[in-house]
């Protein structure tokens, strides 16, 4: 017996996606990749900041040309509902009534103002699975503190623990926790709740406080403090048990672009393999470096001479040579490497290119995991702003054309 590849695990599941920016929309996109029907609620009164973010398709204007938004919302339908208008709540409830999952990363105050608390949803749809992702949770002394993606890297310890020990902690270049950890955890909680609903008939509330969700990934450092009183600090690319371990500069490419390689030596045997590759380098025959203990004792000197050696090497060939000797290494890839020259990602078809009415053929991230029997897929590009209001109102919510016209005239729908 095999699964037919048109079947997906979340076929028949409908998601009311009341989220915006990163953490909510990405979670809902994963659900869409695996078969769920996702209806993204938007409004001209509160346009998702990513719709007007960057990068913008050259020559494009308006709400449909930002790849940042488009990538996180592929496979969804866009439904414009202005929640601050009279009568909007009834429309929202009609959608909730017909949905399996509610998801939102709005602030707790907004859930209260719009009547979207779990108790409200339950009275409409008792077995709803409602996933809330407020920055600091739905309750607690700091509940209403302001924050978004950029603040999360510092407040969860990631900034303090990442980067150059000699310099101040400036984060990790992107709003990292927002893009994988929080949506990723949310999807796991939703899938768990779906299984429970299937077995018991009960829905439930999921509360993902983004601070807690990210802190949960920092367990060893947190335990080092609570158990030992040790406050770990950032140590660049150094490892606590691998040596050498770091990112080393290689020769610039012909266009003058800086090139770097990551190398991680996790055993004496791997060290010996690296020495075989670098047989002419001075460190290769230096007995001091034969054992992990020795390498760690002279780590700084070792890093310097490894750097001297890599400085003359072409990063891509060196990574390939080291890998064929069984040593973990990779070029530090930038977007050009990844999109244009990574034959491996291309062969695997990770990135998907989909035609979009306003941005043309555009790149989208593929599913986060590959199911061999029933793979995820992107059926459609990101929705144009409000493109599906009418069809959702009629086909999903069961309004007549006259009712839609009336709701539109009152500014509830648009």
């Amino acid at each position: 017996m095999t699964l037919t590849t048109s079947q997906r695990p979340l076929d028949g599941i409908r998601v009311a996606d009341f989220s915006w920016f990163g953490a909510g929309p990405i979670a809902a996109r994963t659900l869409a990749d695996f078969g769920a029907e996702v209806i993204r609620i938007e409004s001209e009164a509160r346009v998702d900041g990513l719709r007007i973010g960057e990068p913008i398709k050259p020559g494009g204007t308006g709400y449909n040309v930002c790849a940042y938004f488009n990538n996180f919302n592929a496979g969804k339908r866009s439904f414009l509902l202005n929640m601050s208008m009279d009568g909007a709540r009834a429309v929202a409830y009609r959608l909730i009534e017909r949905s399996d999952i509610f998801i939102s990363n709005l602030t707790p105050r907004m859930f209260e103002r719009w009547g979207l608390r779990y108790e409200d949803l339950c009275s409409i749809k008792p077995d709803i699975i409602a996933a809330y992702q407020p920055m600091l949770g739905l309750w607690g002394p700091h509940r209403d503190h302001a924050g978004f993606g950029a603040v999360l890297t510092p407040t969860t310890g990631i900034s303090h623990l990442s980067g150059d020990p000699e310099r101040k902690p400036v984060g990790v270049g992107t709003n990292y926790p927002d893009y994988v950890i929080n949506p990723g955890h949310t999807v796991i909680a939703i899938l768990a709740a779906l299984r429970h609903r299937r077995r018991s008939g009960h829905g439930q509330r999921i509360e993902l406080a983004q601070l807690e969700s990210v802190a949960a990934t920092m367990g060893p450092a947190l335990l080092d403090y609570t158990a030992n009183g040790v406050v770990q600090s950032r140590k660049g690319n150094q490892s606590s048990w691998m040596c050498p371990h770091g990112i080393y500069q290689c020769a610039n490419d012909p266009a003058g672009r800086e090139r770097w390689i990551a190398i991680a030596i996790s055993s004496d045997q791997h060290w010996a393999s690296l020495c075989t590759v670098a047989d002419s380098a001075a460190f290769a025959s230096d007995d001091r470096f034969g054992t992990l203990l020795g390498r760690r004792r002279h780590e700084s000197e070792l890093n310097d001479i490894v750097s001297e050696w890599t400085a003359g090497c072409d990063a891509a060939s060196l990574a390939a040579t080291l890998q064929s000797a069984g040593v973990a290494a990779s070029v530090v890839q930038d977007a050009e490497d990844i999109c244009e020259h990574d034959e491996h990602l291309t062969a695997r078809g990770y990135y998907q290119y989909i035609d979009h009415p306003e941005t043309g053929r555009s790149l989208y991230d593929g599913p986060i995991v590959k199911l061999h029997g029933a793979p995820g897929r992107l059926d459609t590009p990101a929705p144009l702003f409000g493109n599906h209001t009418y069809e959702v109102a009629v086909d999903v919510l069961g309004y007549s054309a006259e009712e839609v016209a009336e709701l539109t005239a009152r500014g509830v729908l648009s």
Binding site: G219, I247, A262, S266, E343
Partner: protein, 427 residues
């Protein structure tokens, strides 16, 4: 008894450190996760940090964190009897998680340990494989560690200072993401298997699972053919970025129109400490009131206000340096100013909000034989499920701690046979 979401689901966790988090996520949701370890134990049991700084196989805080709630059996897959035992165990499982490299897979295949065969033997089984680069493609055989995955997926190039080396994100985040990806895949496949009776192989490529963290870099390339570079901290405006305080650092995002209180509130606050300098002058206040988002994005606008912006930055730096991080966070937030602490692990342990929400758990963890248990203040869960809460039900296992109960009571190997298997080193 409170129900759990993954009640009745058995997971065999054969993974290295790369896959620990996947098993933890499932275990905390109620699955019965059995670590299947080689006879000497998972080599990564000896990874730092250690309880009281004492290295050992039963003292690793890292191991404890990621393996609480799991049970442990040992089995030698190199031996015929070990493989037979493993086959019996697979017959009781719903999900298998492993993180074998291509060479390990090849070596196991010669011993007839092949996922496809188990999937045939048990059609509802879900088999999750975690690898650095996936099961096929030109780099399928590449070795991986956290930093290598961060380099390959396009994250490292964005982190760090422009005049320094690319940096990895702390906390083995590539392994965290691998765990998230694999447990999502395993649960998706489990839902389908429970509905259809048909399981499947699930594949995590860490490089792919991590790629979305490039944020906009790959998208920018697609639209503009330019590579996003690491900027460290490019300060566009005063008030935005990392500032030193009396006892550490804060991340400040104040004075952005539309986000929290306006500049005048910042200046009032500075003035209360007598540190607003000449910013309280009417002319400056009027200028601040005119700031809008254009100034953030437009170089010409920035140049126009450069002297004022520079002066403001200096005064604000002096003000922030006069207060502690917690003072700035608490007081700033009450003034609707977006300030976050650059928190250390100690700050998180002492965080009032986490304490009030009872996020931290208590766990008694056995350590080296003959030593008292470690009483741990243990990090809590990423999420709270109202009907099926997560929980830590048992500490991390010792090597092979559950051989007896799993092999005899649950798999049905007679005690005498088990003794014989132990004698020949199969378990």
């Amino acid at each position: 008894m409170t129900p759990t979401a993954l009640d009745g689901v058995r997971v065999l966790d054969l993974s290295s450190e790369m896959g620990w988090y996947a098993g933890k996520l499932l275990a905390d949701l109620g699955a019965d996760v059995i670590k299947v370890e080689p006879v000497g134990g998972d080599p990564a049991r000896a990874r730092p940090p250690f309880w009281l700084g004492q290295p050992g196989r039963e003292t690793s805080l890292r191991f404890w964190y990621f393996n609480a709630n799991k049970r442990s059996v040992t089995v030698d897959l190199q031996q015929f009897d070990g493989r037979w035992l493993f086959g019996r165990l697979v017959e009781t499982a719903d999900i298998v998680i492993e993180s074998w490299s291509e060479s390990e897979r090849a070596a196991l295949a010669t011993l007839e340990i092949e996922p496809a065969a188990y999937l045939e033997q048990r059609p509802s089984l879900v088999w999750a494989s975690i690898t650095g680069f996936g099961l096929d493609g030109p780099k399928a055989g590449w070795e991986v560690t956290d930093i290598v995955a961060q380099a390959a997926s396009g994250i490292a190039t964005l982190a760090g200072y422009p005049d320094g080396a690319p940096m990895r994100i702390a906390g083995n985040q590539a392994y965290i993401v691998a765990g998230i990806s694999a447990s999502q895949g395993a649960m998706l496949a489990l839902l389908q298997a429970e509905a259809s009776g048909i399981g499947q192989r699930v594949e995590t490529s860490i490089q792919e699972a991590f790629s979305i963290c490039q944020e906009t870099a790959h998208l920018q390339w697609d639209f503009l053919r330019t590579s996003r570079e690491r900027v460290g901290e490019r300060r566009r405006l005063p008030g935005i970025g990392t500032y030193q305080t009396r006892d550490g650092y804060i991340f400040s995002m104040v004075g952005i129109p539309g986000f929290g209180a306006p500049w005048s509130e910042v200046i009032n606050w500075m003035d209360e400490s007598g540190l607003a300098g000449d910013l309280t002058e009417q002319e400056d206040l009027e200028t601040f009131a005119k700031f809008d988002l254009r100034i953030l994005l437009d170089d010409a606008e920035q140049a126009r206000f450069a002297p004022l912006l520079e002066r403001t930055h200096e005064l604000l730096s002096r003000f922030y340096a006069s207060k502690t991080s917690v003072e700035l966070y608490e007081e700033g937030q009450s003034r609707r100013l977006l300030i976050g602490q650059v928190a250390t692990p100690a700050d998180l342990a002492e965080n009032q909000h986490l304490a009030a929400r009872e996020w931290w758990l208590e766990l008694n963890q056995p350590t080296t034989l003959g030593r008292p248990d470690a009483a741990l203040k243990f990090p809590g869960s990423p999420y709270r499920l109202s009907e099926t809460p997560t929980s830590i039900r048992r500490p991390a296992p010792r090597i092979g701690e559950h051989n007896q109960e799993v092999w005899t009571a649950e798999v049905g190997i007679p005690a005498a046979d088990l003794l014989a298997f132990a004698g020949e080193g199969a378990i």
